[in-house]
Symmetry: D2
């Protein structure tokens, strides 16, 4: 069965977003804005940044198209020659076309609930197509929001086979982006490579402080006065991917390890939600090991 892809019918929601990076040179804004003007578009929002060290050009443009404008593939075809001339990485999206995502979870509910609830009130431009977990705990929460829940019991020797099943499920559902909502398993390099810059993780520390396991315990033992959470794209190196969003909260000697966990939960769900919103609104470009976030 073909998965359903939600397209918003409202015309005002069919604005166009271009996200592009390429080697910097004179005339890029002029050439691109000329293209948009020739297509009858009116630019509503333009953010441009040139990395002064690497001399790379980054831009996000949001425009309202003419009333009987081109389809997405027509737009892409029309823009392609320019992009090739600039040697650019790029994508064009309609604002009304939702990104299809899968959420991976283990046993903690706070990040999953946050995403399900925010999406239910229209904060995200995503379709949550399915939830995958190595525990059955959160199946009832998934059911409350009417999202298919797939439970895969992981044990060491069949991990590779399970991952193949998961990939099949993701492909069948035309999943674009994966959100790790406190998923307590390491993904294989092969998996990570397949979804490059499309797997969003939340790490429960202010990276690069407290890499690895038990960051709250590490923070408690070090006696820091501030703890944090970090959302980043997943790369093969654990906790080393490009950082999308971070936030912090103050702690004191009065806070026990449990208090750190409690305070951290609020950070985790807010920071992950923010990163997902940036991603779903096509606001992020990856610049080597870093991100450009046009917020």
């Amino acid at each position: 069965m073909k998965p359903k892809r939600t397209v918003m019918p409202d015309k005002s929601l069919r604005n166009v977003i271009l996200l592009l990076s390429c080697p910097d040179r004179a005339g890029l804004v002029y050439r691109i804005s000329n293209f948009i003007y020739q297509c009858g578009g009116n630019i509503l929002d333009l953010d441009e940044h040139v990395d002064p060290v690497e001399k790379i050009f980054f831009v996000r443009i949001l425009w309202s198209p003419e009333s009987d404008s081109m389809s997405l593939s027509e737009l892409e075809d029309a823009f392609r020659p320019l992009a090739e001339e600039f040697d650019a990485e790029w994508k064009i999206r309609f604002t009304g076309l939702k990104t299809r995502i899968a959420v991976f979870v283990s046993r903690y509910d706070h990040c999953l609930l946050e995403i399900l609830w925010r999406n239910s009130i229209g904060e995200f431009a995503v379709d949550i197509a399915l939830i995958i977990s190595n525990h059955a705990d959160l199946a009832p929460l998934a059911a409350q929001y009417g999202i298919p829940f797939h439970f895969f019991s992981l044990s060491g020797d069949i991990k590779e086979a399970i991952e193949r099943q998961e990939v099949a499920l993701l492909e069948e559902n035309e999943i674009d982006t994966i959100v790790l909502a406190r998923y307590m398993q390491i993904l294989s390099p092969r998996f990570v490579d397949r979804y490059q810059n499309r797997i969003i993780n939340i790490h429960h520390s202010f990276l690069p402080a407290f890499v690895g396991s038990s960051p709250y315990r590490q923070a408690y033992e070090r006696g820091v006065k501030i703890i944090g959470a970090t959302s980043h794209y997943v790369t093969e190196q654990l906790d080393q991917g490009p950082i999308i969003a971070q936030d912090i909260i103050r702690v004191s000697h009065k806070d026990t390890l449990d208090d750190l966990v409690r305070k951290g939960r609020d950070l985790e769900r807010l920071v992950l939600a923010q990163a997902l919103r940036y991603h779903a609104e096509h606001r992020i470009l990856v610049n080597g090991k870093k991100t450009v976030v046009f917020d």
Copy 2:
């Protein structure tokens, strides 16, 4: 004697900034970026915003010009026809050309010291041409930084005459912008009108809370858990001008009124410094009673 205007000799500091607002319409970015391209410029930074309610277009563009580029007046002449076609408010500036400012103070030193020190280490693109005060207290501080200090003893019946002397002094020194660094006097409407959107004030509360006098006392008596400071352009209506920057700090039942004043001092000097930096870097456009700040 003609006042000296500091021009930075370094070529890399002769980038160009355009700050412009006009009624929105299709093609504005294309037309402006085409102009820059035709002049041989390479855009380094472009921030654009369209007010979705008022349909007004705002843009700030920073570009590096060709090596033997036009003078400022040549650039202005070349751009004028476009600006007139767009019915725009606009200005063009070179990054290396400092804004000439006067600082008005009374008896508190913290905001003045902050501005003098930051400027001494090169944080601001300003020439502090003179300091005007209705008290003599801060003359030694001005002397430490080598800035002329003018003391005008204010008393009710000669206030108007004093203000005329101050204006004469400001004009003689070709002052562009006035910074009120905890200046405890009200300026006349005539004065305010002459320097529209060029007088920056710091108010020691989180406006619009605690308008008027003794905001810390008001905050203490209300029992707020957070206090703030607000920097804004001065208009005829007290504490009602367009807000440029705000910041806050937490307080608790343990904080006395003196503690609020102490904590507030840190806010005041940092927020005023931030507003002045935005202004001096030509990052602010006024949108009715609000500001657009391209930070």
Copy 3:
């Protein structure tokens, strides 16, 4: 039917909290800590504050009692003579005895969900006995968490009668504290008086800025750079009650009114949750129009 009151069986959860305020004088800490020592208690946490202007003494003490310690009423009886000598307002509570609360809501779900979810994972020491609403919208959410939901259709002429029914319901359920989770109705002075310092409201602005209705619209039109939320005890004067907690978030010219509402939602639910936690853990003493919060 008698309402059930949850008592935690775990002995370590039967610590004792004393919350007390009285006119200041020498020896108060000595006398009170002597009482605790005589009862065999070991103080785990003591916060004391003297209002330096009003000369009022405030204290919160948490202690672990002897293994076969007194009942609550025995403790109260033993302490009463001291309290009367000090002319004190005071209460003694066991940490394991949950506060019974009712939540009042209208149509927004975010604050209610926040409270229900936090309580479900054990963050609050409360029993959510019932939910009262003037709309039916949130009945399904109440059902998900298994909480009785009472819908009262309000119309002008029967408002008083409805409130009488609500009070009856609250009394029948032995409700101690009422949480207004974005409840869009004004309570009568008679109602407010009955639950003095036991009705917690969340106002969606940084009070005292933007009192009254549509604070986000007011904030948008004023062009502030920071918005806030405020949780306070309800008094007869609208938005004037003692402030318990406040928090803020940055906004910019890019944020539409909808963005302010979205960002504000996160503040509202976090600030209300924080206030409820302080209240449920008996950390708040009211000091005239202000609060002392021992966090």
Copy 4:
């Protein structure tokens, strides 16, 4: 020549502070508050904390003594038996008796200026007895505030001899506490040991992230979205001492390395000033590798 020690004449400034830690047991607050009561004192502020893991008791008490109260040594003698019974680490201070400090600097002026200015307006209870530097750059700033400036030219082979001269100077001036205000030299273990928990450093990162040199460059290259500063007591292990205070500021892809340095300067001076204020007001107790800060 005997160094002058400033004693504040104002009676209201002769409040007493006790700072004490010892193994926890029942009755400690009672016994200590009884002592204060017997001495005729009235407690103004009491903060108590028991480390729930290590079972250590920490307390800071501020009280106003009787009008013709005991001298400091009389108080110490009277309290000593109790302290010995509790096996406590403790000190008693009068609020009006300033802590004598030395500031060590290299070439950056921002932290030194911050301390000198704050002290000049009465924010700190310290006497800045002298400034020691391995560069001559900041001698004029020291002179502006009338503080003796000692320049020691450091080179590898005489480092030990220099440190001996510095220690002699510190002892001669009865220095209690040393502030490293961006001092770019490592102190010897012998030196550190002599001033245990009395050397305050500012590290320009959010420790434990970016230990060691060039933390801003490390932060820039990692692409963090938040940078920080950390003030801590110096121990033999570089950047590992007990943390006193931390703060952060947001950065984005727009910020160059220079911007990080600029933003970080504001953090450094504020965080160091906060730590020094806590220390000078006797608000800090060291708990192993952590601190208890009664703020």
